[in-house]
Amino acid sequence: MIEILTNYNDVLIEGFINTLIASLIALVISLIIGTLLGIFQVSTNKLLAGIANFYVQLFLNIPLLIIVLFFYVVFPMFFVGVNGFTAGIIGLTIYTSAFIAETVRAGILGVPNGQMEAGLSTGLTYGDTMRYIILPQAIKIVIPPLGNQFINLVKNSSVLAMVAGLDLMYYGDLIASETFNTFDTYIIVALFYLIITLPLTYLMQYVERRLAAND
């Protein structure tokens, strides 16, 4: 096990960093897209709500691997070639956006109806009530599930390995097929993933408790 770590530390670290980068990029973009979609879903504008609902229902129910493979295999046939890393990030973003949209929608609906009425009755517009009254309260509801989405995102980023995405799993797999020491290699790869996901999990549990205590 020590041997694998010393012989392959450079590729393991490169993979680890690529996994982090892919997860972070996908997180930031899907937070933006997901939040917008979530707001659109509860919007009174039928068209916006329809589009957002269509998007969410489509991508919630299709495997991430299919979305990533689509961008890797189909996209280049019509547009430009994308490498596995990029195809992976695009797929992760599209997929995670749908989940974040669902979370945000649930968060907004979690704020009691009366709040919107109260806001409107004080003369605020729909947009202002949303922005100053509903969303700040919704954020509190959505923080814990959003944290879980990020943890899922890190785990899901391993799908990059299926399209030569140069992530932690890809290199781990390569080391395993070169050394044939699959057992030790996968344990090492597992530890690298846990370095990211375990602290996040405990942080989220802490945040959740703090939020609950504040209520």
Partner: protein, 216 residues
């Protein structure tokens, strides 16, 4: 683009064969992981000394790993220590290990969401600890648990696609075989594959909505 050739009966039948394997794997894993997840979740909720801690540690490790890694592990690494499973059963084992951990977390969360007062109330009416959990806590917790559990089942169905990496002849694997033989079939196969997964998962999640409303 040759859609008629792509959707020949031979190819469609091949995809449906794959879908059947997908559904088999998903169904077996759903049942097994629900049982194991429920046991783990209960053990953690009941705070049995040592046992609950161990269950918690295992669950925390497993649910924080990528499923793909666990699939590789059950298929490529376990034989190194003398545990040999066929492709089908190592896929089932990987899905079950991972989804049990995810489900146990949902179940524990659901049980914990029931106020402590309920337990005290149950005990004060003369019910035993186990009876209170069975007759009072679980029925109430179920209501909160059903939607996330069904979402997890939907996730499980989608996750079976990852087992294509160990040549499990499921839907994704078979679609890749078809489009691997003819570039013209790539898009038709993606449409067919996406459609089949979507129908299965959407139906499952709609089922959850119905359960939710009928429970409320």
């Amino acid at each position: 683009m040759d859609f008629t050739g792509a959707y020949s009966w031979v190819n469609i039948r091949f995809l449906l064969d794959g879908l059947l394997v997908t559904l088999e794997i998903a169904a077996i894993s759903i049942i097994l992981s629900f049982i194991i997840g429920a046991i783990l979740g209960l053990v953690r909720y009941m705070k049995v000394p040592v046992l609950s801690f161990l269950a918690g540690a295992i669950v925390d490790i497993i649910r924080n790993l990528p499923l793909l890694l666990i699939i590789f592990f059950t298929y490529f690494a376990l034989p190194q220590i003398g545990i040999r499973l066929s492709i089908f059963w190592s896929a089932v084992a990987a899905m079950t290990i991972f989804e049990s951990a995810m489900l146990s977390e949902i179940i524990r969360g659901g049980l914990n969401s029931i106020p402590v007062g309920q337990m005290e109330a149950g005990r004060s009416t003369g019910l035993t600890y186990a009876q209170t959990i069975w007759y009072i806590i679980i029925p109430q917790a179920l209501r909160a648990m059903v939607p996330p559990i069904v979402s997890q089942f939907v996730a499980l169905v989608k996750d079976t696609s990852l087992a294509t990496i160990i040549t499990l002849p499921e839907l994704t694997h078979n679609a890749r075989i078809v489009y691997g033989q003819d570039t013209n079939f790539v898009i038709p196969m993606f449409i067919a594959m996406g459609f089949l997964y979507w129908v299965v998962c959407y139906t499952l999640s709609k089922l959850s909505k119905r359960l939710e409303t009928s429970n409320a």
